[in-house]
């Protein structure tokens, strides 16, 4: 355990090292570059490789290759780079490749305002890649959270054989906070499941009962096949509905049946609340302050702070809002998660508080937004 005063991006790098990452490839982009710059010194010390490649496409494909070579692997980028990575994200889904992508959100569309914050990638990280898939997305609101959720992102990636997205933003990236950097043993670190059968009996995509196939690496002598086409348990291309249906059902079920491993939410003052604010990331910092301001003037209001954006767990959103009349969803975008809150929370009116701030949203904005409805 080490106490430190570090930035959100440094916390991501430290979290990745603790999680056992051995390969990082990336391409410079504001506000994510300092993750790579920090790692290039630190990862070398623990025997890992950091490499800057010719673009984001190369970076994520190299990360997939490295993961199959047996290394826990990661890349970091921001919206424009993430856009270039979504095709490979699909490859990671269908080939069940464990990896972590840190997307440090900045303003868009297109080049936007490169140095300024936003939460407008929320639906892109969910829907960007074509085809059916569920990719877990974790969203930190503090430096400590950035550290811990990075470790968790690796744990989910390795245990469920899936890409995981760590969705931070420009504010959290360059926020400096006290952090406790835990070592393995103080924080859970999970490794991927290896085959227990000899190579002659091994089928690279044959799942165990938990729906996860054990993963052999290149060079282990198991003749693995990484296949981007729809494939059977051998990894052989098949074009029939049965194989397709079985594969896609398993790929989504393995995430949904483990939703409790993935989904996390924090609540503040919701027990007696007639009003609930749902928020995440840097905006949730303003939302908590706003809730405290409103409470001090007698308003019974609470906060639900999402740590996981996908997959959501409907009952975990519904339960804390059971006594609420109004549920506000505060996000630094035009309103994205609000659609799901509306879908799941039926007993209260759901109000979108879309904030479009280049700096971190302020508590005042949220207080004003809530007051309009009181």
């Amino acid at each position: 355990m080490r106490k430190a005063f570090i930035s959100g991006n440094m916390a991501i790098a430290e979290g990745a090292i603790i999680a056992g990452m051995k390969f990082f490839a990336g391409y410079p982009i504001t506000p994510a570059s300092d993750i790579m710059e920090y790692l290039v010194e630190r990862l070398n010390e623990v025997g890992g490789v950091v490499v800057q490649l010719e673009d984001e496409i190369t970076s994520i494909n190299a990360v997939i290759g490295a993961s199959w070579a047996g290394a826990k692997s990661m890349t970091a980028t921001s919206g424009p780079g993430f856009s270039l990575m979504v095709e490979a994200l699909g490859l990671a889904v269908i080939s069940e490749t464990p990896l972590v992508v840190a997307d440090i959100m900045r303003t868009g569309p297109s080049t936007g305002v490169p140095t300024k914050t936003s939460q407008s990638d929320v639906l892109q990280v969910r829907h960007g890649a074509h085809g059916d898939h569920i990719i877990p997305v974790l969203v930190p609101w503090s430096v400590q959270d950035a550290f811990e959720l990075t470790v968790k992102a690796f744990n989910i990636a390795e245990s469920l054989r899936t890409p995981v997205i760590l969705l931070s933003d420009a504010v959290i990236a360059h926020l400096w906070e006290s952090a406790v950097l835990k070592d393995p043993g103080e924080i859970e670190v999970v490794d991927r499941k290896k085959p227990m059968v000899p190579p002659s009996e091994y089928l690279p995509y044959k799942p165990d009962e938990d729906l996860i196939p054990p993963m052999a690496s290149f060079g282990d002598g198991y003749n693995v096949i990484v296949e981007s086409l729809v494939h059977d348990e051998h990894g052989y291309y098949r074009q029939d509905s049965d194989t397709y249906r079985r594969l896609i059902t398993r790929l989504t079920s393995k995430i949904m049946s483990n939703v409790d491993k993935v989904f996390e939410v924090e609540s503040y003052y919701v027990n007696d609340s007639k009003y609930v604010v749902v928020s995440y990331g840097s905006t949730a910092r303003a939302a908590l302050a706003a809730v405290r301001v409103l409470r001090s003037s007698g308003v019974k209001i609470g906060l639900l702070r999402l740590k996981t954006l996908w997959p959501l767990k409907p009952e975990a959103l519904r339960e804390p809002c059971r006594n609420a009349d109004l549920v506000f969803v505060a996000e630094n975008n035009t309103g994205k998660i609000v659609a799901d809150v509306e879908r799941f929370v039926k007993n209260a009116e759901v109000v979108s508080l879309p904030l479009l701030d280049l700096e971190v949203p302020t508590p005042d904005e949220i207080v004003e937004g809530v007051k309009e409805w009181l």
């Binding site: 503090s142 504010v171 926020l175 400096w176 906070e177 840097s282 910092r285 908590l288 971190v360």
Partner: protein, 177 residues
């Protein structure tokens, strides 16, 4: 305890470094919880630079990341002197680098006007450490952190070959009356 510290200056004056030293001294060496955020113009030199630091006993006491009611303010350069009054408490400590801040509206018992650049030049021989002189002054006057803790942070952050210079600057600041 809870402090909201605001530091405003011009790019190149070492404003961000000041924030990191204070943050490290408070978090690692004083066991306090710190949230620090930075804002700066895209150019490396020139343009406004600002650091917000919130220091508290526990993370429970910190929610929003920016200063809303500063009780300690340092102006190393006269950017929006009056505007920032909106986010200061009435009894805030205000430190003004009179090398650049020639006129200002703050005439309170807790406002201190010191030519940090000249002090640095005279005592240490270079105005490049004016930020550390100001740091020493701020720490001595407010008592927000102990001298020892700030020295430890300085030792951790400043490269070996510049450390003596900076320690000298810190002491110069601590001794300003």
């Amino acid at each position: 305890m809870r402090h909201e510290i605001l530091i405003v200056g011009r790019g190149g004056q070492g404003i961000l470094l000041l924030g990191r030293i204070l943050g490290l001294a408070a978090s690692k060496y004083s066991g306090l919880y710190v949230t620090g955020s930075e804002a700066y113009a895209s150019e490396t030199r020139g343009g406004m630079s600002r650091v917000d630091l919130i220091i508290a006993d526990s993370p429970e006491d910190i929610d929003y990341i920016r200063v809303r009611k500063a009780n300690i303010v340092l102006f190393m350069f006269p950017y929006d002197l009056e505007g920032y009054a909106r986010i200061m408490s009435d009894d805030a400590f205000i430190f003004l680098n009179s090398t650049y801040v020639k006129e200002h509206p703050y005439v309170t018992r807790r406002a201190f006007s010191v030519p940090y650049n000249e002090v640095a030049e005279q005592v240490v021989g270079t105005s490049r450490v004016s930020n550390i002189v100001a740091l020493g002054h701020l720490v001595a006057r407010t008592g927000v952190l102990g001298d020892k803790q700030v020295e430890e942070a300085l030792k951790e952050i400043i490269p070996e070959k510049w450390l003596d210079l900076n320690m000298k600057a810190l002491r110069a600041g601590l001794e300003i009356r």
